[in-house]
Symmetry: C2
Subunit: 332 residues, 2 copies
Amino acid sequence: MPELRKDPIIGRWVIIATERAKRPSDFISQPQERMKGFCPFCVGNEDKTPPEVLAYRQSGTRPNTPGWSVRVVPNKFPALKIEGELDKRAVGLYDQMNGVGAHEVIIETPDHDLSLANLPLENFAQVIQAYQDRVIDLKRDPRFQYVLIFKNHGHAAGASLDHSHSQLIALPVIPKRVVEEIRGTNTYYLYRDRCIICDIIHQELEMEVRLIDQNQHFIALAPFASRFPFETWVIPKGHAVYFEAISQDQLWALAQILKCVLQRITTALNDPPYNFLIHSAPFYEKEIGFYHWHMEIIPKLTAVAGFEWGTGFYINPTPPEEACRFLREVKI
Amino acid sequence: MPELRKDPIIGRWVIIATERAKRPSDFISQPQERMKGFCPFCVGNEDKTPPEVLAYRQSGTRPNTPGWSVRVVPNKFPALKIEGELDKRAVGLYDQMNGVGAHEVIIETPDHDLSLANLPLENFAQVIQAYQDRVIDLKRDPRFQYVLIFKNHGHAAGASLDHSHSQLIALPVIPKRVVEEIRGTNTYYLYRDRCIICDIIHQELEMEVRLIDQNQHFIALAPFASRFPFETWVIPKGHAVYFEAISQDQLWALAQILKCVLQRITTALNDPPYNFLIHSAPFYEKEIGFYHWHMEIIPKLTAVAGFEWGTGFYINPTPPEEACRFLREVKI
């Protein structure tokens, strides 16, 4: 019998479609084609990107020259532009404002052929450090209410360049998905005086069937109402509202567990395309102490089609318990 | 300057990314590969599907034999199952129920090589008639709260068979997207004592820049906050809550405008993959007179990636006014 499972945070139903069940091994990807041609993210091509806004570099090297390990630059084709005022206005009954925001690229490694999952742990930690540094910096701009950090890996997941990179977009509005999470976590908090994500962690540590990995500070789990096969969430075990407030200890623990999860997904499914993103609390909301930041990792293995567009629900052919077992058993 | 535009119904922001603008002609699709092999939807293979629940057939022909023009059958690999009770239950703090529902396939034509856009108008009207008949029938089952009618055209839009077909899924819960539309239209109604979609129609008929087509009963427009290039909505001009309540006149007018819109999209973009869906009011909600049913047509031309998953917002590289002009000028 198929199951309808409800996401406990935002109330979205997901169909776990056992009748069209796919074994985890049905999802093993074909090798992805590498793009050919010039790469603006490679060492030596620093002048082919806009000037860097942050780089971790060997002492003595100048900005926008070789010698960096992680480099952050504005996106050359930004979805939003950093200059200007919002100029909110009406168009008849519609609402519109200028597309003011930041759109930056975090180049994760100088090595064109290294993927994020395969970065040495200390380089991986530098990538997380760059996320943190950039969010803290952009938070000072009063025009922005939110910074979304995300990664598109592989052409089918939206990456337009092979060289391993993540992105951030600073927004003058709060994302709809985050508003839904705030509403959901707040409702639960008002009802029970507890954080729903803390309760989820407690239950998942006890049940173990969806527990992919854990370390001192983080848990990696297959969500009960996973939208997609092998969807994985990484969540701080202790209640924490803002990603950018992580300590150095926590930052290393996050790098460690995220690297392990990506290695498991990469090894189990033959380097599939994937997206990940960080959901943290918006900047200027008051009394948002009930929110609990987390990461969502979404392998791109199924098509989003008419049913998903029409309902906002998802049909997932792989029960998360089965995906979890498969990821847990993989040798990395 | 890029623009941030707000969907007036559900409040979703969309980035119209002029800096990464694409001309409509950049989206012209490569020819889609046709699948090879046996087709269970073809005439003569009626016994290869589950028995039909509805067919319009030449008089004197028996069910599940040739002689039909439109045929509706249960999906052989259903996402939900028609038998059984919901059996709602808790799993710790999670909510779950049995995946009870209907999942049917509307085979739109006996001709394997004819696409919906190219069906003669009277056959097209029969397809809409089948939608209406099935919704009215499924509405009698008290376990269901909603029937979503949708179509996936082309492999990239989720179709697993080439033979032209649409689908319906009857659900024991109301889709999240419909709940959002109900909330949005209700808020506007309480504020202004008017239907927001009627107001949109009024404004679009006046402004004309997003008006793709119209006839006596329907309007086709490029929504102000289009998520995707060439997104098109078809809306009844007169206020109407339920799709399934359309008259015969309206049904023919819907067939006429939808066929024209699909022909325009197909001709302009070289038969791109697309999804469409019908949003109508749920079955048992009371006092839902403020809702206004409509169709959404979504060509599949851009990737949904980390930004979209993380925010619930969309980056659209083609202003709807430009998409509208391109679709309007196409010769069909």
